[in-house]
């Protein structure tokens, strides 16, 4: 039997493994995050499939890895796109918080993180959706940063991004879990 869970104390350890997985995840998100497509039927809601990497790395490697992948990965996308690493710092932090929440999956879907791979994959999908809903609450900081109205942030920011990212996570995280878990076992991790 394999498990995606880790002990509560090891969750917060920062060793070479955490650093490298976090850097790999952030670089992958930075490279693949540049590709997105418009949600059919909408004019400004884009789905970024690579967001699933944030919740997958959080779910599979812990909250610190998830936090780093989301925060640094999104900042790198902004950096490559030209906005600058810190200009939309609150959106990067929201991405990071989504990764952190996915990494804390053992607190709310702990029972699904052990046992058959199908259960772990389903746990990953649930963690991805929960992480999107909770993590992106931080985009309401746009009310302070940009002077936007609550309804504006809700309709142009929070709701579209949560829908898009929850869909991407629900579909892609289980597939990544299915691909990674057997390899992890064969590598003795």
């Amino acid at each position: 039997m394999s498990s995606m869970s880790m002990s509560r104390s090891s969750m917060w350890n920062v060793d070479s493994r955490v650093i490298v997985y976090a850097a790999i995840g952030a670089a992958l998100y930075g490279v693949l995050g540049l590709f997105s497509f418009l949600l059919p039927g909408t004019s400004n809601v884009t789905i970024r499939p690579a967001f699933a990497l944030v919740t997958f790395f959080g779910y599979g490697f812990g909250p610190l890895v998830g936090l780093f992948v989301g925060f640094v990965g999104n900042a790198i996308i902004d950096q490559i796109s030209g906005y600058g690493f810190l200009t939309y710092w609150n959106w990067s932090l929201a991405n990071g918080l989504a990764g952190l929440v996915a990494g804390l999956a053992s607190l709310y879907v702990g029972g699904m993180m052990t046992g058959a791979i199908s259960r772990r994959a389903l746990g990953g999908a649930i963690a991805g959706v929960v992480a999107s809903i909770v993590g992106f609450l931080f985009v309401f900081s746009d009310i302070v940063v940009g002077g936007s109205d609550f309804n504006t942030v809700l309709t142009t920011g929070y709701v579209p991004v949560v829908i898009a990212d929850a869909i991407a996570s629900a579909i892609l995280v289980p597939i990544l879990v299915y691909a990674w878990e057997p390899l992890k076992e064969s590598m003795g991790r």
């Binding site: 650093i19 780093f68 490559i80 030209g82 810190l86 109205d149 309804n151 309709t155 142009t156 869909i167």
Partner: protein
């Protein structure tokens, strides 16, 4: 699509600054701009941002598309915000309404238009100061700069490592696309949401799994060199010179002045140009 950071301002006056200056200026400018709602003050801040941007020597042709995307995004946010906010303009009790938007009924007033314009200019100012950090800073300097700014060294090292992984992952990405194309993969993608996400699987999955599996070599190398056992030093030496101190001092002074103006002169409230007031 270019998936590597572009160092377009190489050799410019701003590129010769210590990279920490570019980071700190963004932070100082954002916390300064957040406090300003007086249109006159926001225009001053935008002019300062423009001068700062010019010193980066970024060729406009190379970033034209980036500007177009940024301005479109800002405009959408401001327009939607104006429509939804209506006449609930911060700190203004006396509203001068011009007309109501047909069907929606949202009132358009001198105050709401000023608010929208000010908000738009604030965002443009922030992006203007952000661009040099994207295009005028050597990507390899970012980790060192954050480490020297007091960010935990393991985080800074992770940042440095991330930028080192990007070129090799970009190559792996292209190779994966090419390999899947041979098998009939269409990177353009068609169909509904689920279908388009499923079409990403042949690229996303092998790229992710091989990157994670390949990370083992890096982890072993770091462990063998005793990573985390002693305090790290950085090969790239950073040192502020007199001009760096002047630039940082100037932006710090600007922050203090705008904070004072907000308290003493009320520049935290919107200011409507007299010509916009009817009658």
């Amino acid at each position: 699509m270019n998936i590597a950071p572009r160092y377009l301002g190489r050799g410019s006056w701003l590129a010769r600054r210590d990279p920490r200056v570019l980071i700190l200026v963004v932070v100082l400018f954002i916390i300064t701009t957040i406090q300003a709602w007086d249109l006159r003050l926001v225009l001053v801040l935008l002019a300062i941002a423009g001068l700062y941007y010019r010193s980066a020597g970024i060729p406009f042709q190379s970033v034209k598309r980036n500007w177009r995307v940024a301005l479109t995004l800002i405009t959408i946010i401001v327009v939607v915000n104006s429509i939804l906010t209506g006449d609930r303009v911060r700190g203004v009790a006396d509203i001068h309404t011009y007309f109501a938007i047909p069907l929606l009924g949202t009132p358009v007033s001198a105050e709401s238009l000023t608010y929208a314009l000010t908000q738009w200019l604030r965002y443009v100012g922030m992006v203007t100061v952000g661009f040099p950090m994207a295009f005028c800073m050597a990507p390899t300097d970012l980790g060192t700069a954050f480490a020297r700014l007091g960010v935990p060294e393991k985080f800074a090292f992770g940042l440095d490592l991330t930028f080192r992984f990007i070129p090799s992952l970009a190559v792996d990405y292209q190779q994966t696309i090419d390999a899947q194309r041979v098998r009939g993969f269409d990177p353009a993608g068609t169909g509904g949401v689920v279908n388009r996400l499923r079409q990403m699987i042949p690229v996303l999955t092998p790229l992710t799994v091989s990157a994670i599996a390949g990370a083992e070599d890096t982890i072993d190398a770091m462990d063998l060199r005793g990573f985390g056992t002693v305090r790290r030093t950085w090969l790239r030496a950073l040192r502020f010179d007199r001009v760096d101190y002047l630039v940082l001092g100037g932006f710090a002074l600007l922050f203090l002045a705008v904070t004072y103006a907000g308290i003493a002169l009320g520049t935290g409230q919107i200011w409507v140009p007299p010509f916009m007031l009817p009658g």
